[in-house]
């Protein structure tokens, strides 16, 4: 009695499934096989790596963070132990941002050798530990965000 509605509905449902699967196999995963490049991989691309939208992932090089809290201007270096890329970002970073922290930045690597970040993400570890005596996570962020102002 409602066979037309049923048929189209079933077709739509199957269609959604096929699209979802196709997306998983060809779109979602394929482009995400390399979700981010490490500094050494970005540098290895040479001129190919300039001015293209890309994600860069690595550690914040300890001591490299320069934060201007008036202009909300952030500069730091991302390292993978081999290569290093200078990053320039606008706006306050996430709370967990600090020296040595894993980060993923989205943006473009400029010809001036500075990566212009449009989005800064923190990649944290899979370990969860209660702080040791005297350790104050929130204060660490605050002091970092104050002391490096220019």
């Amino acid at each position: 009695m409602t066979s037309k509605r049923t048929k189209w509905g079933a077709l739509a449902a199957v269609g959604i499934l096929v699209v979802a699967f196709g997306w998983l196999i060809y779109g979602g995963l394929d482009s995400n096989v390399v979700y981010f490049l490490q500094p050494k991989e970005l540098l290895a691309k040479g001129a190919e790596g300039y001015d293209k939208p890309v994600r860069l992932g690595g550690q914040v090089k300890p001591g490299s963070v320069v934060w201007d809290d008036k202009a909300l201007d952030l500069r730091f270096t991302v390292t993978d132990g081999t290569g290093e890329v200078a990053v320039h970002s606008k706006g306050a970073p996430p709370q967990m941002f600090k020296d040595g922290q894993g980060v993923v930045v989205e943006g473009r690597y400029g010809r001036d050798g500075v990566f212009k970040s449009t989005s800064l993400m923190v990649k944290h570890s899979n370990e969860y530990k209660a702080p040791t005596e005297g350790e104050r996570p929130a204060e660490m962020y605050k002091s970092l965000m104050k002391s490096t102002g220019t």
Binding site: A13, M96, K123, Y128, K129, A138
Partner: protein, 237 residues
Amino acid sequence: MSPAPASSFAPPKPTPVWLGWLTFAFFIFTQIYAVVTSPADAMMGHLQKMMYVHVPAAWVTFAAFGVVLVASLFFLWKDDERADLLAASAAEVGSMFCGLTLVLGMLWGRPTWGVWWSWDARLTSTLVLFLIFVGYLALRSFVEDPHRRGQWSAAVGILGAINVPIVWMSVKWWRTLHQIQSNPRGLSPEYLRGLLLNVAAFTLLTVWFIWKRYEAARLERAAEHASQAAALGGYNG
């Protein structure tokens, strides 16, 4: 339509509701216990407490879709309608927890990672898993013949459940923003206790939800069979 033994259409005796209340009370207890007993994390402070809902929700999502897989295979093998109804119930509950996992993950990601969402392999594959089972539920509501509905949805259910190991392994196979699975050694014991208790509570809740949904599905089918029998001339009044 092939006639089936009347006994399999007879509605089951409902499980007593106090079992549900007991399960819910245990869940409330484990939530409070975990939040009260765990200190702030060295890195993310009290945001660590999202662990007690996000991780168990993800676990029961996988478990529920595992039930879909087993019940769907059983249905294709034995052609027992009850297996189809169990698969459908588990798919419904699993989809709910999968959606919850995504939302809770976004709420956790915004303050820690700095973004609500990113198209990394873990997040993308979890969303695909969710969409497949939403499609599964949509498919069920559009196919009217119970036997064909059972076969189609069993196929989709099995296909969907294959994604569970992909979601699980995604953080190891690909570079992702999402961190890899924590292991007990990477957790302070005060976090581990609360987490395991909540995994247990979520599991019990899921069993309860799936079972109650299954009982309701059995009642629905029994009523349908009764009205069909009546329409076919069993009664004239």
